[in-house]
């Protein structure tokens, strides 16, 4: 297994020999790697190789065997709320059944920080306003989410994650439904967000860490510090992106000649 060369004291997430899956059929087998605090990791692999399952497992949503540590603590020993104070998870949401306003939806990201009942305190409201503003959602704050386009909904759900103020952000195909302009804005936002620091309830400041599944190879390579290659539920390689993204390895992971395909399909814009 390839380990991150950084000192393990800086590892915000570490997995050792993790096997996980649904209803006793393992999807992931014997995965081990460490993610350094502040890094961005792209998961690469073909459909069904276990990328989403890996994200869900790290977020403690699936039963697994092996060890997963977040900030040095085993997630088996953590309550749901404690995990959610470290990890925000943007999953692929396709439809919503019941309607809430954009503001209400983003406020749900503050679930952990609110008291027993539904009284919002001032700092929660400030955080939500600030998040809406920074993602350009202030104008539609009063709109019902059932009336939004797929792209707008995706941004609202991202805002909900950001409002959670977690040091770890997991993104499962966040660019789905987004048009090019919004994609560019999204990437810029993410890059900016990564330069901030987040203070946790334990009063320690953390550099934001991102683990993402990106559909587009360019995006995935562009944003990442490290790449995790998955194939058939196994980790092929976890390494800094420099030198890892060879044509040979991509062909192996995706089972076809990816680089020639991309090159031969480059349209010459005039």
């Amino acid at each position: 297994m390839t380990n991150n060369p950084l000192n393990s004291a800086n590892n915000i997430i570490s997995l050792s020999h993790v096997t996980a899956g649904y209803d006793k059929t393992p999807v992931l087998q014997d995965i081990s790697f460490d993610i350094a605090e502040g890094h961005c990791v792209s998961l690469l692999g073909s459909n069904g190789c276990g990328k989403t399952t890996l994200l869900r497992t790290i977020a403690g949503m699936l039963p697994f065997s092996g060890d997963i540590h977040i900030n040095g603590k085993s997630i088996n020993a953590m309550k749901r709320k404690e995990i959610a104070s470290y990890v925000a998870f943007l999953s692929q949401i396709s439809s919503v059944y019941f309607s809430y306003s954009v503001y209400e939806t983003v406020m749900q990201g503050r679930y952990l920080h609110k008291g027993l009942f539904f009284e919002k305190n001032r700092s929660d409201r400030e955080i939500v306003d600030e998040t809406l503003e920074s993602l350009g959602l202030s104008q539609i704050a009063g709109k019902q989410i059932t009336a939004l386009s797929g792209g707008q909904l995706q941004r609202v759900m991202l805002a909900r994650c950001i409002a959670q103020r977690c040091p770890i952000l997991m993104l499962d195909e966040p660019m789905n439904h987004l048009d090019l302009k919004i994609q560019a804005e999204f990437m810029e936002y993410l890059a900016n967000w990564r330069t901030t620091t987040l203070t946790m309830p334990d009063n320690k400041a953390y550099k934001p860490t991102v683990i993402g599944v990106f559909h587009d190879l360019n995006t995935a390579a562009g944003i990442a510090d490290d790449i995790a290659f998955l194939k058939d539920g196994r980790l092929v390689l976890f390494a800094p992106k420099k030198g890892a993204l060879t044509a040979e390895r991509l062909s192996e992971v995706f089972d076809f000649d990816v680089v020639s395909y991309i090159k031969s399909h480059n349209y010459e814009f005039t």
Binding site: G60, R80, S91, Q108, C161
Partner: protein, 337 residues
């Protein structure tokens, strides 16, 4: 209009519905008589000579308990319907999705067929056995669904609820086919009615309905989050399995207590939550308490119509809830907000 003023309007509507349910009937009682009787009863004072003594007993012994029973049953059903729809993320889910009504009906059928129901003990036995069997069915569904599916996913719960309901219904059909002499009583019990409701019914129903609604309201934020799906709720820190089981049990208690006293009354549990969401938005801190008020008012009106439009013949209230409910629901649902 703001939600707070709309809530006050809903409260006044509820009050008006209950007063109508009390005053209108085969014997009309004027508002002033109604108020003087109620104040006298509540303060222990004497009733003025102008009020007929028979009116006092009609009002106090029959009408008020009946209207209040209808109110609390309607409220309990609407709240449990709202909970079911939200946690199962399914607008078609209802209070009966997990088999409460089938279980309760089978329990009642066994009591009726065995002939226990004619004794004094039987009057007590019927609701108690109905309630126990209804809840046992739900617990069995939850237990098996959570054993077979560690993620406790919504479609597993719905599927198990439906399979169990059908299974229990089949047992009920067999039982009725083999004991045709008792069939009519059973059908009447299942159709649901508020006739013969007394103050002790009101006492039990009100306690369950009010405490149940308050308990569910404490879970408003979890309910909001669960409508986005289990994973989304977990991601912000909800212990979904625990929250779902707690809420399913609360919703089943509310349905169970209603079914065991009044039989199976449909439609309110399905439509009232949708109507409430249309008016107040989906936030459960509004949806839950207001579903109770709107569901209660709706049931009082339905019961009023059931006993008056073809008087002295009484129509099953379940037929009325569907007959006036369906068009009203379509109107509210498709009218622009």
């Amino acid at each position: 209009m703001k939600n707070s003023s709309k809530s006050i309007a809903a409260g006044l509507l509820g009050l008006a519905a209950v007063i109508m349910g009390i005053c209108i009937g085969s014997v009309m009682i004027s508002l002033s008589d109604t108020f003087s009787i109620i104040t006298a009863k509540l303060t222990g004072g004497s009733i003025s000579q102008s009020v007929d003594a028979s009116l006092v007993s009609i009002l106090w012994e029959i009408r008020i308990p009946r209207a209040l029973s209808a109110f609390f049953v309607g409220g309990a059903l609407a709240v449990s319907g709202a909970v079911m729809q939200s946690i199962l993320q399914n607008p078609l889910a209802s209070s009966y999705t997990l088999g409460v009504s089938s279980g309760a009906s089978l329990g009642a059928a066994i009591v009726i067929v065995c002939g226990f129901s004619s004794s004094i003990l039987g009057f007590l036995l019927l609701p108690v056995v109905g309630f126990t069997c209804g809840l046992s069915t739900v617990f069995l569904v939850i237990l098996i669904a959570s054993k077979l599916d560690s993620g406790f996913k919504n479609h597993t719960i719905i599927l198990f609820g439906m399979v169990f309901s059908l299974f229990v219904n089949a047992a009920l059909t067999m039982l009725s086919a083999l004991n045709q002499s008792h069939m009519q009583r059973l059908i009447l019990w299942q159709m649901g009615t508020f006739s013969g409701k007394r103050w002790h019914h009101v006492a039990i129903l009100s306690v369950f309905c009010i405490l149940g609604t308050i308990a569910v309201t404490f879970y408003s934020r979890e309910l909001d989050l669960l409508t986005f799906g289990d994973e989304e709720a977990m991601a912000v820190g909800v212990d979904t399995k625990r929250a779902k089981i707690t809420l399913l049990v609360l919703a089943s208690l509310l349905t169970g207590i209603s079914v065991c006293f009044t039989g199976v009354i449909g439609f309110i549990d399905l439509t009232v939550p949708h109507i409430t969401r249309r008016i107040f938005g989906s936030s459960h801190k509004y949806v839950i308490p207001l579903s109770m008020i709107i569901g209660g008012s709706f049931m009082v009106i339905a019961d009023l119509l059931a006993r008056t439009i073809l008087a002295p013949q009484e129509i099953p209230v379940g037929a009325i809830t569907a007959l006036i409910g369906a068009p009203f629901f379509l109107y509210v649902y498709f009218k622009k907000r």
